[in-house]
Amino acid sequence: MRKVLMAAVAGAMAAGAPAMAQETLKVGFVATFSGPNAALGEHLLQGFQVGVDHAGGKLGGLPTEILKEDDQLKPDVGVQVVRKLIDRDRVNVVAGVVFSNVMMAIHKPLTESKTPMISANAGPSPIAGKLCSPYFFAASWQNDQSHEAVGQHLQTKGVKRVYLMAPNYQAGRDGLAGFKRYFKGEVLGEVYTAVNQPDYSAELAQVRAAKPEAVYVFYPGGMGVNFVKQYAQAGLNKDFPLYSAFTVDASTLPAQGEAAVGTFTAAFWTADLDNAASKRFVADYRKKYGSTPSTFAAQAYDAARLLDAAIRGAGGKVSDREALAAAIKTAKFESVRGPFRFNTNNFPIHNFYLVETVKAADGSLEQVNRGVVFKDHADSYVGDCAMK
């Protein structure tokens, strides 16, 4: 029941292939591919695909087989497919994973089987802290980092009174906590709404009554589409500038349209970032899929590049899991985000940028980089991690 997306291309392309007896690389790619939240899984896979293409279809020069599995956004299904990948398909490494709750569920079977995991999105705080593992690597970020960046920006800007909103789950609570870690002004309201709540009119009325200087929210996916549209319709964007994280991005912007113009967010990467790796990625992604890549795609692309470098570093011996994990940790690759290195907890230390959504001259919507907020930013949970 496997889905082989890419089989090995003939050895002709493998210029730098190791001379030893060649192994085959098997990558388990787990993400949410069905149901209402399938779009993000697609973004991850597409970004990863471009990364594999850039390695000539052979990550680390090895014939590469990608086994795609759908976690259906159900933690127990996630565990089931990961077990299948480990026990039956004997994959060398697992990548992907959109949602934190799925990541948390599969963390144990991965760690216990010593299977290297490269997260292309989810970076839950427990895994950055107490549950950190030598086999887990985040090619994305730690959940809190973007929130911290926005908090820092508002603090620097001298904003005194903010209003905070997020869905009522751990990532939402972590997010607002991260924001408050760097924002020291007054919090007029801190509202947690039901997960996947469609309508925010009641909460938006409270925002207007509170009269904050700025509003900061965390509403990923469909929630973000609803929220940003309704925020603009209520006329709030004129009076209270909207800051957000993971709410306005390339995956939601098409559906938000002009409602998102003028909102700010923070990210580790934007499509207009000026470095060679990013330019190449954006150009080839556009060529292949006809749209600007999202941050999700960029993370997954980095995951593929990271893996490619690591396998070369390990000399192609992917069956030795400990060696592969060690090689991932020390791998040097050109990240689309510029400087990239792993902290002791295997989460990246990297820059964060302020991002504004604007309407370009041709009427299209773009997310523009407005400068660095954090340089070489490490996450806040690394202290809880026992790895040194």
Binding site: D76, N101, K108, Y169
Partner: protein, 310 residues
């Protein structure tokens, strides 16, 4: 084929499965079979009230959650003895069923469907707000549950335990539906008024059935937690309750073994179709519609009809 022989063959297959999987180098299928057995227990328990009692619950996944959190909460406090988890789940599931059943059984039909959904949703949101136990993100269980000398994190061991529970519940269930209690329950499904006029306090019978069913489903929840080493509110989402209903209907209501069949077929269909195409839900949806239109009493009815025709 005589029934006894059929059962013997099925049991033999269940016993041989792990060895066959090993032989074929496909140990993964033991885990998959465990999952089937777990959902079969949940579906079987639902069939007791749905098929025999005529009570359609759209909140049965709540009991999966109760069982799973019984394991999760104990484990997070360092108690890994599975019998403690199970006893807690039985007590908590039974109590939840008793309290909600007292209210829900005042209603019938669609109102019953919805009120059971309401109680499950309340429990769902309660679990989401349980920050100490992971909230929406769930709780990873780092210490394996133990049953005496046995380690339940071992695939093989858990498989045997799940099969043992399934067989136990199937035998208990069959005994129960053939008992006086079962006869009254089925009579009440068919003609409530007549049963009252005969002097049966059918609400008490239904409540007891609901409690027993909830307890059995809670055990399924425990096993699910043992298997995934993970607990989350997602186990009790209303979609999950809906899937349990679909399993029972697909297999054929009011037969017990139909529920097992339904659970197995639905999980296998998901597995197979997802391997064929990304758009497997389209096919699954069409299959379910066709089943509802063509086969009157699920797969069980379909098989019986085929046998009859031959």
């Amino acid at each position: 084929m005589p029934r006894a022989a059929l059962w013997a063959i099925l049991l033999a297959m269940a016993v041989l499965l792990p060895f066959a999987a090993d032989l074929a180098g496909q140990g993964y299928y033991v885990g998959f079979a465990t999952r089937v057995a777990i959902f079969a227990i949940a579906a079987l328990s639902l069939d007791l009230i749905l098929g025999y009692g005529g009570l359609v619950s759209l909140g049965h996944a709540a009991f999966l959650g109760i069982g799973a959190y019984s394991v999760g909460i104990w484990t997070s406090h360092g108690v890994t003895a599975a019998p403690v988890h199970w006893a807690t789940a039985l007590a908590a599931g039974g109590l939840f069923a008793l309290v909600t059943g007292l209210i829900a059984l005042r209603t019938a039909g669609v109102a019953f469907i919805m009120i059971t959904l309401a109680f499950a949703q309340m429990l769902f949101f309660l679990a989401v707000s349980l920050k100490a136990y992971g909230g929406d993100d769930g709780l990873t269980l780092w210490d394996a549950a133990r049953l005496g000398p046995l380690d339940l994190s071992d695939d093989r061991t858990l498989y045997w335990v799940a099969i043992a529970w399934l067989v136990l519940f199937l035998l208990l269930g069959r005994h129960l539906v053939a008992s006086r209690f079962g006869l009254v329950l089925q009579g009440a499904r068919s003609n409530e008024r007549r049963m009252r006029a005969l002097g049966f306090d059918i609400r008490r019978h239904r409540l007891l059935a609901y409690v027993l069913s909830g307890m059995a489903a809670s055990i399924a929840g425990c096993l699910l937690a043992h298997m995934t080493d993970f607990v989350s509110p997602a186990y009790m989402s209303w979609q999950r309750s809906g899937e349990l209903v679909v399993m029972v209907l697909l297999g054929g209501i009011g037969t017990l073994h139909g529920a097992i069949l339904g659970a197995a077929v639905l999980l296998i269909l998901e597995e197979v179709l997802a391997g064929l195409t990304q758009h497997w839900m389209l096919i699954l949806g069409a299959i379910l519609v066709a089943m509802a239109l063509v086969a009157r009493r699920g797969l069980h009815g379909l098989l019986a009809a085929l046998r009859g025709r031959r």
